[in-house]
């Protein structure tokens, strides 16, 4: 299976809304060794001006992964999960995610570069809130081996 070079420019349908639960924020904060009270204590988060618990900076990956599933699950994409290596990751942030957010993610394949049989796929996932406002753009470079 080879990566389809015509993937570049393809946009997948927006994911169903993902509701960010407090418990999920706390779990993720523990898992990334956060020490911030704003991810655990609603009173502290509100005192800092947030509506609810504040997710750590890399939390958007939880939502972004749903869009990777769309890409890797697309038979026309030609991306086999076992040959994917995560090369680069970037989060371009408008605001931190907070508990209670209802987030929708839309993935666009920004580019596909073929290099010696391998492919470098840049996938850009735009995450917006219930009002349609931008929250964060998560961009990944996935290195896909040819397996040959």
């Amino acid at each position: 299976m080879a990566v389809n070079p015509d993937l570049a420019g393809r946009t997948y349908p927006p994911t169903p809304p993902f509701r960010v639960e407090r418990e999920k924020v706390r779990e993720f904060a523990d898992a990334v060794f956060s020490t911030s009270a704003l991810s655990r204590d609603v009173v502290a988060a509100r005192a800092a001006g947030y509506a609810d618990l504040v997710a750590p900076p890399t939390f958007p990956i939880v939502i972004q992964q749903r869009t990777w599933d769309q890409l890797i699950g697309d038979p026309e994409a030609g991306i086999e999960l076992s040959r994917v290596l995560h090369g680069d990751q970037r989060f371009h942030v408008t605001r931190p995610i907070v508990a209670g957010d209802e987030l929708v993610a839309t993935l666009t394949v920004a580019s596909v570069r073929m290099m010696a049989g391998n492919a470098m796929v840049t996938a850009e996932t735009v995450i917006t809130d219930g009002d349609g406002a931008h929250v964060v753009t998560a961009t990944s470079v996935l290195m896909v081996g040819s397996g040959e």
């Binding site: 990334v32 020490t35 750590p56 900076p57 970037r90």
Partner: protein
Amino acid sequence: MSDLQLGQIVAERDIHLTREALERYAQASGDLNPIHLRDDIAQQMGLPGVIAHGMLTMGLAVQPVVDWLGGDPRTILDYQVRFTRMVPVDATDGVDVHVEAKVGAVDDPLGTRIDLTVSVGGATVLGKAQVRVAP
């Protein structure tokens, strides 16, 4: 922010990663790829054994910066890394990850740039690990 000096270390932290930490991250993130959980599968993929999720390394590496910002990530505008070296996690001993955050650029129109050096046993595991913080 205004009195920061180029090269100044603003935060530093050592984090001990264990297999339990990988399981906890797998559950919390939903990334259940078995190369982070099972030696036999990692070895089938040509790895020495279980490796840490790259996103776990990225996730923990920014925490000293969040702490430096008083626990509030509001001013973090951008965070990027390149995954340059895998982080094997020994079943018994785990692994120690060292994070150093220093000022990489000041007076930038995009804000202060904090450069992260993330290393295991003296070898860096992330490249171009940069955090932009609003002025």
